[in-house]
């Protein structure tokens, strides 16, 4: 289906983007959205007096004689409500520009012959579609020069003036003007899908085009389509950049860790102050203050994360906090917040809360260390965060654990529960064969946790005290001799390992 080109008159903003007015200096530019319906070459003031509104006047001869003539022409143009006045640069001085500003009349100064300029402009105004196409071609050139998503959106927004444009992923505007997403009765929404490198829809370009504006919907749509290749290139560039950046951060953190682990040979005994290496600030890292580390790790580790996952985690973690580092470490990611005040946990708390949805989506858990100063303090906080993260695994996806609240129970997080459970298969074969083994193990664990108190254990399990007693009897018969002092620690650990494993897997298989 062929679309009929728009017959809307061209705007002043459209005309100044293409030659000959692209070269003109703008002594005053009142309104880029003013329509230009006709071009008048005014040689005399009489001709100016006969101008219709919305014309563009090119002054020439008597009307552009200099001195008073420009002032008088501007006044007449203002009286006649013309769109703009074009005059030779030799005539237009600063007083002319000041008067144009006072009258809010667009005044453009040209260096070439006014008659030639008027002829070219008349051609452009009489064929607005062709002029717009020329404008679009120039815009395409500017789009192609952009290497960042923001740059592309900047060009689109400057080109479309009063039609805000945004790049939207999901329902979130990631670049451009958010006004594009606001529902307005007097604006029409134009959307163009942008595909990623894998030819899957990646984002949408959304523009809100004013209904009575000077810009046709088709014109906006074709501009948005023109921007797609530049956006795709910018996106690819970002991915490439982030891969390099990620490797850079990883190496730098490794170096930092080594610095903390191996203090200089001539350093005195005791705690050592390690100077923050200058290259850390090149990465935008802050280490000098009090550092509190965050350890992001999968609920079930499965080797080093892919670049894509790292990219997504980075995007989610650094949303609004672009200066916070994110370093890949084995199967996990390390970040930290540095501040002057050790008790300043507000930003970190907000960051963790904001990240929880993403953590749930990627099945991650979060551990937060304590605040310690300097490089050595950072490394200590990282170790604490890592411990806390192991504890957090008990809470399932998006679990958050602050090291301050873990204490000695962190030690349990390190138990090789899978291996211990395998031991149970060998030592307690009878119990492991029993169908009610899960209830029995949980009951024995509860009684041991409660220091042998049956009533406390029955409360924790939510069953009658007699039930607890009956299960204990049966457990003892199947080999779980929990009340023998020399076996109690071993059986407590075994029961803990089995219960943890079954809670994690949701089954006792």
């Amino acid at each position: 289906m062929s679309q009929r080109p728009s017959t809307l008159p061209i705007t002043l903003g459209g005309l100044v983007r293409i030659q000959p007015l692209a070269r003109a200096s703008r002594l005053h530019f009142a309104d880029p959205l003013r329509q230009v319906e006709q071009v008048v070459l005014a040689q005399t003031f009489e001709r100016l007096r006969r101008c219709a509104p919305h014309v563009l006047v090119v002054l020439h001869d008597t009307a552009a004689a200099g001195g008073w003539s420009l002032a008088a022409a501007l006044h007449l143009a203002w009286e006649r409500n013309v769109s703009a006045v074009v005059v030779s640069g030799a005539v237009a001085g600063s007083a002319g520009a000041a008067l144009a500003e006072r009258l809010n009349m667009t005044l453009l100064a040209i260096d070439s012959d006014p008659v030639d300029v008027a002829l070219q402009l008349a051609g452009q105004v009489s064929a607005p579609a062709a002029a717009r196409a020329l404008g679009q071609a120039l815009c395409a050139e500017r789009l192609a020069e952009q290497t960042h998503v923001r740059g592309v959106l900047g060009v689109l927004n400057s080109e479309l003036q009063n039609a805000p444009v945004a790049l939207v992923i999901g329902e979130t505007a990631v670049a451009g003007r958010v006004a594009a997403l606001q529902d307005k009765t007097n604006a029409r929404r134009v959307e163009v899908e942008v595909q990623g490198p894998d030819e899957q829809p990646w984002a949408r370009l959304v523009a809100a085009v004013p209904v009575n504006g000077p810009m046709a919907v088709e014109q906006v749509e074709s501009l948005l389509r023109l921007a797609r290749p530049s956006l795709q290139a910018a996106w690819a560039q970002t991915r490439l950049d982030s891969t390099v950046h990620s490797a850079h951060e990883q190496a730098a953190f490794g170096l930092l860790r080594r610095l903390a682990a191996e203090p200089p040979p001539d350093a005195p005994a005791g705690p050592v102050e390690i100077e923050t290496p200058p290259w850390s600030s090149e990465l935008g890292w802050q280490i000098d203050g009090v550092n509190r580390a965050v350890w992001l790790t999968p609920l079930r580790p499965s080797g080093a994360p892919s670049e894509e996952v790292t990219h997504l985690v980075r995007a989610a973690w650094q949303r609004g906090r672009t200066h916070w580092p994110l370093v890949v470490d084995g199967d996990s990611w390390i970040s930290w917040h540095s501040s002057e005040d050790a008790d300043d946990v507000g930003p970190l708390r907000r960051a963790v809360t904001a990240f929880r949805d993403s953590a749930a989506a990627h099945r991650l858990v979060i551990g937060v260390g304590q605040a310690h100063p300097g490089v050595a303090g950072l490394m200590r906080s990282v170790a604490e965060a890592r411990l806390a993260a192991y504890v957090a695994r008990k809470q399932g996806p998006a679990g958050v654990q602050w090291f301050d609240q873990v204490g000695a129970s962190a030690a349990l997080a390190w138990l090789p529960t899978t291996e211990i459970a395998q031991v149970a298969d060998l030592c307690l074969a009878e119990l492991m064969d029993a169908r009610d083994r899960m209830a029995l193990v949980q009951t024995v664990l509860a009684v041991l946790d409660c220091g042998g108190s049956l009533s406390q254990a029955s409360q924790r399990l939510g069953v009658h005290r007699n039930t607890v007693l009956a299960r204990l009897t049966r457990a003892r018969q199947l080999g779980l001799a929990y009340d023998e002092p020399e076996q109690r620690l071993a059986l407590h650990v075994l029961c803990y390992a089995l219960a943890s494993l079954w809670t994690q897997s949701g089954t006792d298989e």
């Binding site: 008073w68 002032a71 501007l74 000041a98």
Partner: protein, 367 residues
């Protein structure tokens, strides 16, 4: 000679000079002291000069006009020996075989308003309270007498070097061009005696009362006062009004092309109004202030008399002393009625200065 006369004495010279400046704001103060002291000394020696209204003179009395032709700075560089004006008059008397019974200024403005007083004192004849322009125009045929059909010729220009030129031409414009061609050789300025005629012809041709008017204006200007009071007092005598007050923001030289008809370069002064509507006032200059535009709209123009008053000091601002940042009042004084006739407008109106716009008075429907 009959009828009542007033007298111009040495004490009136400063007032005459100030008043003459009001009617020719383009002229600087270059030759002031030498000229006024010469005239003052002359009047002290010869006694006061009688000033007669034209209608009080016998109609057949032969009269001749006087003025200084050329540049004021040339006059300052090469001051008059003192006999140039009388010598110019004597040449015409010789040519025509008459004895002039009275002299009058060609233009009651600039130094040209003072020299007829000096000549009258030297010749012992009365001075007529009338002139040909009511102000100063650039060319010698831009006079009310010329419009009334009185010929400027035969005329004599007598230079400070003692040389003279006698011109007889068919039209005023040709006489002016012939005269200007000799001006450099004569010494940059010359004493001009022209428009030899009779008092009867001047009754219908000259503009009456203009000498007493500049004396009155001069007396007001000499009283140092605040600008607002000064302007109200001037308004009572001249009918002037203030167009606006503002600060000079720009001085543009050679701001537009010149057609060469007037011996002065076009330039512009841009003033930002400091009160009222805060308009941009653009003042177009040539040998005088030609037009005033407010935000590009023509609000006053030749033959209106336009001048600037230094609003800080309450004195007239001469055009060659303007500087960026000066606070000035722009005054407009209506010219004599003859200049608003079709013939007058064609002669000295806006179109003569290359501004093809209708005069604001015409746009307002005034005669």
């Amino acid at each position: 000679m009959s009828g009542a006369a007033t007298w111009i004495s040495a004490a009136d010279v400063p007032a005459l000079y100030e008043g003459a400046k009001f009617y020719a704001p383009a002229v600087g103060d270059a030759g002031r002291s030498s000229l006024t002291s010469w005239l003052t000394g002359l009047l002290e020696r010869e006694g006061p000069v009688a000033l007669h209204r034209v209608e009080t003179m016998a109609p057949e009395t032969p009269c001749v006009s006087l003025c200084v032709l050329g540049s004021g700075s040339a006059l300052a560089d090469l001051p008059p020996a003192g006999d140039e004006f009388v010598a110019a008059i004597r040449q015409i008397e010789q040519l025509q075989g008459v004895r002039f019974g009275a002299v009058y200024p060609l233009a009651a403005a600039t130094v040209s308003a003072l020299v007829p007083v000096a000549a009258a004192a030297q010749l012992g004849v009365p001075l007529l309270d009338a002139d040909g322009m009511g102000r100063a125009f650039a060319l010698i045929h831009h006079t009310a007498m010329y419009l009334a059909g009185i010929s400027p010729t035969p005329l004599v220009a007598f230079g400070p070097t003692g040389d003279s030129v006698l011109v007889d031409a068919r039209t005023g414009a040709r006489a002016d061009r012939l005269l200007r061609a000799s001006l450099d050789t004569l010494g940059g300025w010359a004493a001009l005696a022209s428009y030899p005629t009779t008092a009867g012809a001047l009754r219908r041709g000259a503009l009456p009362g203009t000498i007493s008017r500049i004396a009155n204006v001069g007396r007001v200007l000499l009283q140092q006062t605040d600008p607002d009071l000064l302007i109200s007092r001037l308004a009572a005598i001249t009918g002037c009004r203030r167009l606006g007050r503002g600060r000079i923001s720009e001085l543009e030289q050679l701001s537009r092309p010149s057609d060469g008809s007037i011996p002065a370069h076009p330039s512009s002064v841009v003033i930002d109004e400091t009160d009222g509507q805060r308009r941009q006032l653009r003042i177009e200059l040539r040998s005088e202030i030609v037009a005033v535009f407010a935000n590009g709209e023509l609000i006053a123009g030749a033959p209106d008399l336009l001048c600037l008053v230094d609003a800080t000091r309450g004195t007239l601002a001469t055009l060659d002393n303007l500087e960026r940042g000066d606070l000035v009042d722009v005054l407009v004084t209506p010219g004599d009625a003859v200049w608003y006739s079709d013939e007058g407008m064609a002669m000295v109106g806006l179109s003569f200065h290359g501004i093809p716009l209708d005069h604001p008075r015409r746009l307002r429907g005034e005669p």
